[in-house]
Structure formats: C-alpha cells, structure tokens
Amino acid sequence: MNLNLSGKILTTVAGAFIALSVPVSGFAGDTIKFGVAGPHSGDLASYGLPSINAAKLVIDKVNANGGINGKQIEMLIEDDVCKPEISTNTATKLVSDKVDVVLGHICSGATKAAMPIYTDAGILVMSPSATSDELTLSGNYPNFFRTIAPNAAQSPAMVDFAVDKLGLKKVAIIHDKGDYGKPLAEGAKAYIEKTGKGEVVLFEGITPGAMDYSAIVQKIKRSGADVVVFGGYHPEASKIVTIMKKKRLKTTFVSDDGVKDDTFIKVAGKAAEGVYAAGPQDNATNVMATEAKEAHKKEFGADPGAFFEGAYAATVAMLNAIEKADSTKLEDLKKVLQTEKVATPVGSINFDENGDAIGVGFSMYVVKDGAYVVVK
C-alpha cells in the first residue's frame, strides 16, 4: 500500500518533469548550442581558426552578462579541414549534437557540401567567408546567410581595380579549377566581356599542388598580358609569383581574398611585394571593429587573422536574431535577420532575401614591406 503510493508519487513527479522539459518558447535545450565549423587544422587552418576566436570573444561577453533571455551559450567546434568530403561529416556531427545555429563553414566547396544537411535539419548557417555565388543566389539553401560579399561582387571589384585604377587593359585570367577560384575567374571574364573594358588575352586553369608552374608563367608572358587576375588560394598564388619573379616577369598580379592572407606573404617572401588582393572591406573606421581587435589582442595576445571581423559580425547577428526572435526556429530568425539592422564590425547590416549582407563590399589591398595595406 505504502509502496504503491510512493510509486504513484514518483510517476507524478516524473510526469511533471517531462511536462516541464517540453520546449516552451521554441528553445530545444537549456543552453543555446552555437556551432563553429571550418578548417581548424590542415594547410588552410589560418582561415578557420580566427572565427573560433571571434565567436569565443562574443559569446564569452554575452555569457558573462547573463546569456540570451536567461540562457547560456555553448560552443560546439568542429573541424572540416576545408574538404568537402569531411565537411559533410562535420555537419552531420553538429546536427546530431542538436546545434541551434552554425557559424561557418569557411571554404566555399566545403560549405556547399555541408549545406544540404543543415537545410534538411532547418538550421541557420552563417559564413564569414564562403563567397561562392551559388550558396545564396541559387535559392537552394534558404537557411544560408553570410557576412561577406559574394564572388559575383568580388570579380567586378578585381577587374575594375585592375583596369580602371591601375590602367592595365590586357588581362590574363588564371584559376585553380576549384569551387572557389573557377567561378571567380569566370565571373571576371564575363564582366570584362560584358562591359567591354579591357581584353581577356588568356583564360586557363592550373592544377593545384603541381610541382612547377613555369610553363603557365611562360604562357602568361607570351600572351602579352599587363595583369594577371588569379582566382584561387594562397599556396598556388605564392608558387606562381615566385616563378614569375624567377622568370623576370614583371606582370602585375591581382588576386582574391583567398590570397589576402599573411601566410601568402610569409611563403612568397620578396616575390609577394606589389601583389594586389581583394579582401573583406577595410573596417578601420568602424568603432566596433577596433574594439573587437583590441579584445582579441588582450585575450589571445596577437592580431586577429583572416575573416575575423566577418565571423565576429556573423556571431553578433545570429545571437541578436535569437534574442529578438526569442527562438531558434529558422523562420523566426530569418525574419529578424532580414528586417532588423544590427551593428557589427563590418557595419550596420541586415540581409537580403538571398542571405547576402546588405552594404558589405570589398576593398583592395597591396603587399608593401611584408604586410597587406589598403589601397586608397
């Protein structure tokens, strides 16, 4: 009898607990799970690691102030080594860990491979760096947002700079045949042909990782190009500029934000001098960017790396959306992201219906005395 009663009480208590644990306002758990995905090891780790630092800075600050609507934020960090075949595993891991939003991925190819998994799970993904047009403009990934301008904006920026600003008309376009570099190169070619400014004298893809690029360098020389526009990442770019210097070729080299990385300068050394690269817009006048940089220096003892500001902005934007919507449901978050402006290190932004940040563009940088400086 007695035993029976206590059994009943237990059931009731258990029942009450179950009832209480049902999500009340769209939150699944009692912490907000914030995923960070990108290359955290491998040869492109220098692109991915800054986003962890950025997210950590923002989240630590928010958590110290009591979290969002009373909930603490928990970071889940997963490495994708910038490889599409690994990023699908990364995405599956995050989804099965019941992540609420994801900051990442970093590389376009890896992002594209991972997106269907997040789309099926209805999870908001925001990248500070993946610039492939398809991610937003195809409409396949309604849950994808980014705080960097797409390639569709980067190619014209590179061409305009080379042709209008530097006055170099004959353009050789080289790319690495990859998901990131090739569309960028094709965009540049299409833009030159459409606007009629300049002339494409060479359009070629190279094999990444090849041992020697002297044949393609000779071809560039023969084409009589004034400027090389390169779409791809820094390992190939540094090899090409090194060989160009060896072959005494003085053609100007203009490239993309995949080359705007200090590793490029470190590896290419003197050959890097005078190389131009597009990069996320210069935010030197943005107070929040300066503060974020200072915080990074204080916390990690070094200057932040590539895409740090974009990652910081993405973290701020996503957390703001969660707070305003009081939910982590995709539809609620999208509404906030698309309608309300939020102050970030890349400016006061909201997002268009494709997921691209409005008012974010590119600046051009040049290597001068071993560092990238903004071209005014």
Binding site: D43, I206, D212, S214, A215, P235, T242, K246, R248, V267
Partner: protein, 309 residues
C-alpha cells in the same frame, strides 16, 4: 617580318622546352628511387614520396638553424644537403626493415599495402610533429650573375636541377655497372635465390638500394624545395604519384627508363600547357601513359619479363 615571327615562335618553344626539362628532371630525381627498389625486390615503394618530403623538411630545419648562426651560404647548402641525405637514408633503411622485410615472402599485395600504410603514417607524423602550414623554404641557391641574360628562359635553380639530374644518373650508372655492390644489385634483381647461393648478402644489397634511393630523394627534396620556395607535409604525395607515373612510363626497374620517362612526362605537360591549355595538362600526361602502356606494356625501356616466382 617572317623572321621576327619565327624567332618569337622559337623563343617560346625553347622556354617551354626548358620548363619541361626542369619539370622532367624534378620527376627523375624521385623516379630513380621508385625504379631501383622495384628492380631489386619488385615492390612499389609508395612511401618514397614521403622520404622526399622528409628530406626537404630536414634541409629546411638545418638550413634555418644554420642561417640563424650566420653560416656562409655554400656551407649551409652542403651541411643541409648532407643532413638531408643522412636523415632520409636512415628513414629509408628503417622503413625497409620495419615494413617490408618481414613481408618479403608474403603475397605481393601485402608489402604494397604496407607501403601505402607507411606513406600515410609518415605524412601524418610530419603533420603532427611539424606543422600543417606551408613553410617558406630559404633561398639556398642564389641567382648567378652570368645567368641573368637568359634568366627568363632557364633560371639558376633550373640549371642546377638539370645538371644534378645528369650527374646523379651518370654516377648511378657507373656504380651499377662497375662497382661490387652494383654487380650484387644486378645479380639480386635477376635472381634473388641464385644470388644468395653464390654468396651475396641479399639483405645488405636491399638495404643499400633503399639507402641510395632515399639519398636521391633527399637531394631532390632540397633542390626542388629551393626551386619552388615552399614546403609542407603533403608535397611528397603529388611528387610521388607523378614520379611513379614517370617510372612506369619509362619502364619500371630500368634506370635510364626512369629518366627518359620523367623527361617525356615533363615535356608533355609543359607543351600541353603552352600550346593547348593547362586545364588539360594532366589529361595529356596520363593519356600518354595509357597509350604507351597499350603498345608497350612494360614501358619504354622496360624488359618484358615473365612473372617472377
């Protein structure tokens, strides 16, 4: 008018020719190691590319340390070269003892898998022990003054790579043709059992082969890294695949074949890039391989032999 046109065409041809020769020599320095090991024990040593990478890393570390202490360039090159050769050969020697020797009488597939495993192990070992980043390789070979007028066609490093390949091949041929260990190598290659019966220490011969092959890879690592100016843990893989292709093209097991195959592969890639499109560089290279193997399955200079028992 025609003459100017002719010169322009010739100039470009010569530039491509030299870029192809450089590339071919790069492949040759690595391909020699593949072909020697195959000739002696019939094993495709997939870890050979990694030996090349370790050679480059050793040279990098030694050269960096020495340049901090302000050694003159020539002594840096020599010390780094010797260190790379010693370190790489000890790896080659050890790998053979650990991964291949216990499997010498196993089915042919087992040592092959063991080789692939060794390759993956070494790659990841360097990744973890060193770094995943690309590292700037110091300029060990300065640009010579007298090369300046033709630097746009063939640079100093190109020249040194070409010359080294020729010298190495000549020395190797002399060793194999005339020295005692060379004769023992040839005997072992022809018939291992018979070689043992006439008193050749086959184990020593095999070790010597690995040491020579690894030394060549280390020299290659030093030269190639200072030519392209950067290294990371992954360079051995692509270099290995291309050099292996070259060795097969020339007839695996044959030393002149490896050099010939490498030069043909390098030139094909260079001319394909120059006259057609660099998009199709690999397509041309591997189509050539397929064509040659269809008409001459043992490679250009390879001898058609019956399956060794």
């Amino acid at each position: 008018m025609f003459q100017i046109f002719f010169y322009a065409v010739m100039d470009y041809f010569i530039e491509l020719l030299f870029s192809g020769l450089t590339r071919g020599s790069i492949y040759a320095l690595i391909a020699l190691g593949y072909t020697m090991v195959y000739g002696i024990i019939g094993l495709i040593n997939f870890a050979h590319g990694e030996i090349y990478m370790i050679g480059a890393f050793t040279a990098f570390i030694v050269a960096t340390v020495l340049s901090i202490y302000g050694f003159p360039l020539l002594s840096i090159v020599i010390i780094a070269g010797v260190a790379a050769v010693v370190w790489s050969s000890s790896y080659g020697y050890t790998i053979e003892k650990i991964a291949y020797k216990p499997l010498r009488h196993a089915p042919r597939l087992s040592p092959l898998i063991s080789a692939i495993g060794m390759s993956i192990f070494l790659q990841n070992y360097v990744l973890l022990a060193q770094t995943s980043d690309f590292l700037p390789f110091p300029t060990l070979i300065p640009d010579f003054e007298f090369m300046e007028p033709i630097a746009h066609i063939v640079g100093t490093t190109d020249l040194i790579i070409l010359v080294t390949t020729v010298v190495v091949m000549v020395i190797l041929t002399i060793i194999i043709k005339f020295s005692k260990i060379g004769k023992a190598m040839r005997a072992t290659a022809q018939d291992r059992t018979m070689a043992t019966l006439v008193g050749i220490n086959v184990n020593n011969v095999i070790s010597a082969t690995f040491i020579v092959g690894s030394s060549l890879a280390a020299i290659g690592g030093l030269l190639i890294a200072s030519h392209i100016g950067q290294i990371n843990f992954y360079i051995g893989f692509i270099a290995g695949i291309k050099a292996f292709t070259a060795a097969v093209l020339g007839g695996i097991g044959s030393i002149p074949g490896a050099v010939l195959g490498s030069l043909i592969l390098g030139l094909t890639e260079s001319f394909a890039t120059g006259y057609v499109s660099s998009d199709y560089e690999d397509v041309f290279a591997f189509s050539l391989l397929v064509l040659i193997l269809i008409f001459k399955p043992s490679g250009l200079l390879g001898k058609a032999t019956n399956q060794k028992v």
